[in-house]
């Protein structure tokens, strides 16, 4: 452990002024972070052992499981729709046709530039009044959830895809075209597979944020996870039991998603890094 910091030249310790030399800093860092970790662990143990009412869990678990299923459904639908449409937003953004790229840029400006909560309100309260009677307000919550999450996250995915395409060297398109491929074919066969790899981390990040964004749907009374917390907390005045369940529920979705992104990145390694 002590000599694992092999990057530092041996004389660094000797030449420093004694207190802030590399070794001291290292021990200070290890000490402080250990102390912090210990504090967190103790706090969590305290919450889990004293604050959480395990007797309450069987009663509230069914409603949490229903909420969990609902969130999963919204996430899967929202992910598929936002990634698919985000790819088109990104492709439109790099189009040489001014109108196409302009529309895409304006789209991104609006949906990235206003809060998701505002967009949810626009869809939930605003849109039905435009065509009165067309939207049954009682069933409009779930469509609102899907529509607003898709529109919002398509903008972020679009930006990630645009960045991914921009990072593919021009020479790739030139090489493909010089072999006789058309523009669309060259994009499909050569540019997009590389752009996708470049964009993967950013898209994955965004999709994890999408999971957490479902919590905002509590404001339009979607029975998602935060809504369950509010229910239980207002009925029992017990914050920690439902909070712990909420944490477990979100993490059980977001942590595997992070893993999935890592796996997809590793899979498109193409013989190891060298660029």
């Amino acid at each position: 452990m002590a000599d694992s910091y092999s990057g530092a030249p041996a004389e660094a310790n000797a030449t420093a002024d004694g207190f802030f030399d590399d070794q001291t800093l290292k021990y200070l860092g290890v000490g402080l972070s250990s102390l912090f970790a210990l504090g967190v662990v103790l706090l969590v143990l305290y919450i889990l052992s004293v604050q959480v009412d395990y007797g309450l869990i069987p009663t509230i678990l069914p409603q949490f499981i229903r909420a969990y299923g609902l969130v999963l459904g919204i996430v899967v639908t929202g992910s598929v729709l936002s990634v698919t449409s985000g790819i088109f937003v990104g492709l439109a953004r790099v189009s040489k046709t001014r109108i196409t790229s302009g529309i895409s840029a304006a789209y991104v400006q609006f949906f990235r530039g206003t809060p998701l909560l505002f967009q949810i309100f626009v869809v939930y309260f605003g849109v039905p009044t435009l065509w009165p009677g067309t939207f049954p307000i009682s069933n409009w919550g779930l469509p609102t959830a899907i529509i607003s999450l898709t529109l919002n996250h398509a903008a972020y995915v679009g930006e990630a895809v645009r960045g991914g395409i921009g990072a593919v060297p021009d020479g790739q398109m030139e090489a493909a075209r010089s072999l006789g491929m058309g523009y669309v074919q060259a994009m499909r066969e050569v540019v997009i597979p590389q752009a996708w790899r470049n964009a993967l981390a950013a898209v994955g990040n965004d999709q994890i944020i999408l999971v957490k964004d479902t919590s905002l749907l509590t404001v339009i009374a979607i029975p998602e996870l935060i809504q369950q917390f509010r229910d239980v907390n207002s009925a029992t005045f017990d914050p920690w039991t439902p909070l712990v369940l909420v944490a477990i529920a979100y993490l059980s979705i977001t942590i595997p998603m992070g893993r999935l992104v890592e796996y997809l990145e590793a899979r498109s390694d193409w013989g190891g890094e060298s660029q």
Partner: protein
């Protein structure tokens, strides 16, 4: 088809980058089977001329023809014409997400519609020709610069081009890797391939070239056989250029 025209013709070509006049009424004919080496100081327009030959750059006046058919005409079926013109780049531009073999088979399969097995067999022949049969399953990342450039040559050859364009293909290579790429090009020339080669490798130009074209400031200033060009340049520009080569 008739011998009334050369295989690749540049006919009074003018090219501008914005306000900059980079090619000035360039005319040049490359005959079937000829190895035409274009040399000149950097910024002389030699790479631009080469890139115009498969319309990676548009020209503003004049015409470029392959086998009598216009390449520069806006209505030309450029994707079809480009299949007849192989191009090799300074920076290789192999597709990093494809293996060496897939790099070679991609265009024959997707553009020509050749079935996978036939394309594969042909690609293996080409890899063998450039001495890389063993490396077919490697990704570009796993190959040296010289190996990558040889795969790039094989990739261009897989479309059975009538003419090959080489754009400073050894300039990005470590000195010890230059030889293996030049060797492949030399053999290609010996096999009768029509080649237009932009290079700083004067040894190669002299040895393999049928004709040297010297460009300077967007013009062709001298053309000649290698021996007479290198020993007895006819123009002051030619003499100046050669004197700077040591």
């Amino acid at each position: 088809m008739s011998d009334a025209h050369a295989l690749l013709e540049f006919d009074h070509v003018d090219k501008y980058f914005g306000e900059t006049h980079v090619l000035k009424e360039v005319s040049l004919d490359i005959e079937d089977g000829e190895v035409c080496v274009v040399v000149g100081p950097s910024g002389s327009g030699k790479s631009t001329l080469l890139r115009c030959a498969n319309r990676l750059e548009e020209i503003q006046a004049g015409e470029i023809r392959l086998d009598g058919r216009s390449i520069s005409d806006p209505d030309a079926d450029i994707n079809r014409l480009r299949q007849r013109i192989g191009m090799v780049f300074q920076s290789f531009n192999l597709f990093p997400h494809k293996t060496a073999l897939e790099n070679i088979t991609l265009a024959p399969r997707k553009v020509r519609g050749i079935d996978e097995k036939t394309a594969r067999t042909r690609a293996e022949e080409l890899l063998e020709d450039v001495g890389l049969l063993e490396q077919g399953a490697s990704y570009p990342n796993q190959l040296s610069g010289g190996q990558q450039q040889r795969v790039a040559i094989a990739r261009a050859l897989a479309m059975d081009p009538k003419v090959m364009l080489f754009d400073e293909v050894t300039s990005a290579l470590d000195p010890e890797l230059v030889g293996e790429v030049l060797e492949v090009m030399r053999r290609l020339a010996d096999d009768g391939m029509t080649m237009m080669v932009v290079t700083h490798e004067m040894g190669f130009a002299r040895e393999v070239g049928d004709r040297i074209v010297l460009m300077d400031e967007g013009r062709v200033v001298e053309t000649g056989e290698p021996k007479s060009f290198f020993e007895n340049p006819r123009t002051d520009r030619g003499e100046q250029f050669l004197s700077k080569l040591l």
